[in-house]
Amino acid sequence: MTEQQPLLQVENLRVAFHSRDGVTTAVDDMSFTLMPGQVLGIVGESGSGKSVSCYSLLGLIPCPPGRIERGRALLEGRDLLSLSEHALRSVRGRRIGMIFQDPMTSLNPYMRIGEQLIEPLREHRGLSRKAARVKALAMLEEVGIQDAAERIDAYPHEFSGGMRQRVMIAMALVNEPDILIADEPTTALDVTVQAQILTLIKSLQASYGLAVIFITHDLAVASQMADELLIMEKGVVVERGTPKSVFAAQAHPYTRKLIGAIPAGAKPVPSEMDPTDNFVKVNHLRTWFYPQQGLLSPRGEPLKAVDDVSLEIARGEILGLVGESGSGKSTLGRSMIRLVDSQSGEVIIDGVDYRALPRGALKKQRRQVQMIFQDPYASLNPRMTVFDTLAEPLRVHGLASRKNLAQQVNQLMDDVGLDRRFVRKYPHEFSGGQRQRIAIARALALQPRLIVADEPVSALDVTIQAQILDLLLSLSRKHHLTMLFISHDLAVVRYICDRVAVMHRGQLVEVADTEALFAAPEHPYTQSLLASIPLAQWG
């Protein structure tokens, strides 16, 4: 019995990016071995180098500015890092398959999925069209596409996100590679779909004896999937071991920070609220979207994004609104503050019926209700300094005189924990978490009574997410805010919300106190949501 040979051996890998402003080391002195059939989880936040390290193995980082400065990556004795582009091509797809985060942008929208599967088969193996099609069909069935014989000639947009990711997996595995690199394969997916895809990867890994490199920011997911974990921070592997030993040791402070940042458990302090005082009342609200029409074409079937929804939010309460993508939760939030026009129903905020307000009165009233958006990279005007961004609402509503404008802006910066000296900078000079702080400051500028927060932390790294959640909690207490907190992440909702409303296909299916809902979900949809939450498995 000889000892098993490692499949892939990476030694002292160093990758740097050279730009005008100097050299950034993305990956520094990284080493690992991957055994056949092993699942290696690489965990880190954005910018930790977790993706760059794997992309550089396949020659997929742009050079320049990127440069592999040092190291070897031996795949069966051949050093991947010194292979020519031509030789690498026979490795990519054939020996190492890859799946990416966003299954929509990594499939060609103008090509039938069958063609996209057949192409690599013919390229790498020289199969005939017919044989390749048979093989492709078998692969689609293997990844759980129902009616594969019909669906093989469909286009990517005809598949849901989860199904597209299954197609991507089929594409990655169709040439029976030895190694699968999965780069955040479930990050863009809903939680119930994520659970299915993870199960699929696990079962394929077992049946093919695949070695998998699983890149993720989600420690819980990684701990479920991986035999061995690498934890990366700023390009350096700071901790490694089995999930069990990593959790037991927590030797590096960054590991402790990551584990501590996972929102766990109930809301620390309940909001100060008066449950009898309904600050917001939504009655039978209905927002339907009609498909885009030409000048003369008839109206199509509407999309019932919000369909007869009623809810109340007490003064000072934080109400969570959860649901999967497409459930209408964002549209409900936007309809409530009239960013989207609704067809019927009432939205009464502090005694004022928003839907009945004429335009001019609405503009004045808007300062009562502000919104925080998901993507801090899209929600700030890139051509306005922080000062202008924060000063604009104050100027427009005449809330500040010329003299105390700067003072008020500084006050806002203090409130959200940003250094006052940053006011002259532009949004792109900030990190994601800092940008979200700016967006929160902008929302607070008008001293609103109600905040609609649409996935305010889902674009952020876990450690930043925890900080922003605590900031939102403390600000809502300080300013007596009422909040609608929209999220797909149940753990986050549990940490911050007093009550939770569950939305499914445009309708509210369950509203309950947070802890009651988590203890005993009533609606089957809520039950399946709760069952899909990835829980860290440490042993």
């Binding site: 005008r20 402003d21 030409g294 000048l295 936007r334 503050i337 960013l339 609405l362 503009k363 004045k364 009233q365 808007r366 300062r367 209700v369 502000q370 919104m371 958006f373 998901q374 993507d375 899209a378 929600s379 700030l380 005007n381 890139p382 051509r383 306005m384 300094t385 000062f387 202008d388 000063a391 604009e392 609402p393 100027r395 427009v396 509503h397 010329r402 404008l405 700067a406 802006v409 500084n410 006052r420 000296r421 006011v423 002259r424 532009y426 792109h428 967006a439 902008r442 008008l446």
Partner: protein, 296 residues
């Protein structure tokens, strides 16, 4: 000491449009763009001062001399009628620059307002406004111009209007497309949620973020307008001989290209260098107006 001074300054930022101020600061660091700007300013100055500095009169003929190559008397040579080419280029720059800048400004003004309004309001308004643009696209240009000339006669003012009326169509389309993408950004929603007026949103949030392609297209429009003028003059609209413009000098040069190459080379060179300067300045402006383009 120095650091606390910096901090002090930052604590009391002046209100106002800091984008413009920052853009100017960034533009000054772009040497190529600054050289181009200075060159264009000199050109405009020369054009303004032409009647006083030109060595000859633009209509002054010397039939005995005929077409002569560059000499100490006539720096850039003379044309077939013995007119001094340097003088005619100088006088031509008055017409060409005026046409280039004013007609482009007309196109820019109409195109940006039209396109931004259509793109921002969207829906049926957008549909109606852009169909109108399509209809104008469909009009045969030459017929349109001849018609106008018949009705209004030939004048420089009409020239600006006609060129502007044609060039704004493409501008409107570019701006609309740009605005459509900007409009979907969340910061526009945030601005609506703050209770800002549509006009302020268009002015402060939409147009500054759509400005890159607008500037690039503008720098491409100016030269095409300058050349368009010679075509229009040929049709009888615009300037008439013995007046000169760069466009008419170039087309005259093309006719005599084989015998008297300097008649083509110098006007074409002047136009090309101007185009380069415009493009460099345009690129510089685009980068300067984008805070993300440079780190400082």
């Amino acid at each position: 000491m120095a650091e606390s001074a910096v901090a002090q300054e930052s604590l009391t930022p002046e209100p106002g449009s800091s984008l413009m101020r920052d853009a100017w600061r960034r533009l000054r660091k772009n040497h190529l763009a600054m050289v181009s700007l200075v060159f264009l300013l000199c050109l405009v100055l020369l054009a303004l001062l032409t009647p006083w500095i030109a060595p000859y009169e633009y209509q002054e003929q010397n039939l005995l001399l005929g077409a002569s190559p560059p000499s100490s008397d006539h720096w850039l040579g003379t044309d077939t009628l013995g007119r001094d080419q340097f003088t005619r280029i100088l006088y031509g720059s008055r017409i060409s620059l005026m046409v280039g800048f004013i007609a482009t400004a007309v196109a820019l003004l109409i195109g940006v307002l039209w396109g931004a309004t259509a793109g921002y309001l969207g829906g049926r308004v957008d549909n109606a406004m852009m169909r109108f643009v399509d209809v104008l696209y469909g009009l045969p240009f030459a017929v349109f111009i001849i018609l106008l000339t018949v009705i209004f006669g030939s004048s420089l003012l009409l020239l600006f209007l006609v060129i502007g009326a044609v060039e704004w169509l493409t501008m409107a389309r570019i701006v609309r497309g740009q605005v459509l993408t900007v409009r979907r950004q969340e910061y526009i929603e945030a601005a609506v949620a703050m209770g800002l007026s549509s006009w302020r949103i268009i002015r402060r949030h939409v147009i500054p973020n759509a400005v890159g392609p607008i500037i690039v297209y503008t720098t491409l429009t100016i030269p095409s307008v300058i050349l368009l003028e010679s075509f229009l003059s040929f049709l009888g609209l615009g300037i008439q001989p013995p007046q000169s413009s760069w466009g008419s000098l170039i087309s005259a040069g093309v006719e005599n290209m084989e015998l008297y190459p300097w008649l083509l080379i110098y006007p074409a060179l002047t136009l090309s260098v101007t185009l380069f300067a415009l493009n460099f300045l345009g690129d510089g402006l685009r980068d300067a107006l984008d805070p993300r383009a440079s780190k400082d």
